[in-house]
């Protein structure tokens, strides 16, 4: 059976069917992301501590440029079809897919950096202070507090924070992903080598220290279970990333079947590309809000 109204507009809606379909779908997508943005706002305003500077702004800015560029190329690919230029269409569509893969590559790199970065909380204040000194020398407690205060943008730096509230941040020996205290102890480990992050404002990594697992109260990589911040960060950015992946697959399908569709029905092909492009622009549109909210504010 022929699918009706793939090229000609349906008289009552004035649209070809796919266009009506994609807009209904995008309307539901607005509510999907809207719900997550709403969750983000409520989680953030209700939390006592909200970390800052956990993601790299230059990396995020680069990815924003990549997505904007892909939005321009996808609309240019559609315009090329309208002008009857198949090879220009292919070039622009290929550029769009390269941008999509670039975006996902950078995002994977960002995720990997998070999955291998750890916070360690100690069982009591005296133990915590001992490790702060071991990591950063005599003024170790001060250096660790400074990192804590800067991460959470705490203005009242004189307020007392239990030292065992304050985490030691850094990398584990061998850079494993997703390690937990449970996994480490069940692997019959007593101690781990811990490379603490550089003190605030410097790039000098202090020497690795040995941490006894029996002194550790909690150890977590930057995964969703780490904190509310990372839970909502990964939920929203991973859902967005899946949209990028899905969009890229559809656009790649258009590129690889271009010759076939160009012979069969160039008008229908242009409409398909327009609809795919509408989805792609929506993904860009979501990122336009995500970028300032997650990276800058």
């Amino acid at each position: 059976m022929e699918i009706p109204y793939t090229v000609k507009p349906r008289p009552d809606t004035g649209l070809y069917n796919a266009k009506l379909g994609i807009w209904l779908f995008l309307a539901s997508e607005v509510m999907l992301f809207g719900g997550l943005f709403s969750a983000y706002i409520l989680l953030r305003v209700s939390s006592d501590l909200w970390p800052h500077g956990m993601v790299s702004i230059p990396v995020g800015t680069f990815n924003t440029f990549v997505l904007i560029a892909s939005s321009v190329t996808v609309v240019m690919s559609w315009a090329s079809l309208k002008l009857g230029k198949l090879s220009a269409f292919k070039g622009y569509m290929a550029a769009t897919i390269v941008c999509a893969l670039g975006f996902l590559g950078v995002k994977s790199f960002e995720y990997y950096a998070k999955f291998t970065h750890y916070d360690v909380w100690f069982k009591d204040e005296a133990t915590a202070k001992k490790y702060f000194t071991a990591a950063y020398g005599e003024k170790g407690e001060e250096a660790t507090r400074k990192l804590f205060v800067e991460r959470f943008h705490l203005h009242n730096t004189k307020a007392t924070y239990d030292a065992n509230q304050i985490q030691l941040t850094g990398h584990l020996e061998g850079n494993p992903m997703f390690a937990t205290l449970k996994k480490l102890t069940s692997a019959k480990k007593d101690t781990i080598l811990f490379e603490a992050d550089p003190p605030f404002g410097t790039h000098d990594h202090p020497k690795a220290i040995e941490v006894k697992l029996s002194d550790v109260q909690r150890l977590s990589a930057y995964v969703p279970a780490h904190s509310t911040y990372f839970a909502i960060y990964f939920t929203i950015t991973a859902l967005h990333g899946l949209h990028v992946l899905g969009g890229a697959i559809v656009l790649a399908y258009f590129l690889f079947t271009a010759d076939h569709w160009w012979k069969k029905s160039p008008e229908q092909m242009a409409n398909r590309v327009e609809v795919g492009g509408l989805f792609w622009h929506f993904v860009d549109l979501v990122w336009i809000f995500l970028f300032p909210i997650i990276y800058l504010l």
Binding site: T13, L15, D48, I57, V72, K82, L83, D284, F291
Partner: protein, 128 residues
Amino acid sequence: MSHDHSHSHGPGEACDHGHDDHNSPEYIHKTIRKYLKVGGILFAGTILTVAMYYVHIPSVAATIAIALLIATVKAAFVAGVFMHLSDERKMIYSILLCTVCFLISLMGLTLWAMNDFPFFTLVDGKPF
């Protein structure tokens, strides 16, 4: 909606413009120039947003307001030009009107619920 190329239609069919207008090479060439301009505006908007972060405005409320304003302007350009919303059929506008109403209600409920949290949480008897 008014169109600069609506001359071929009767007064009552503003949103029912003929298909030919949108397919003429002149029209497409004109839109291509528009797409490139909007691309430039989006790049500039991104640079502006990031620059604002490094300038560091002391008021948190102002920072959030400016960042969201720039994002909204960028989103309007994407939706209006790239997604052809500045020149669409009535049906799509009515779908989006519903969506906008629901989204505004959702954000309204969010703002309303924001007051339901205890402020000035105490840690060790002292406010954070």
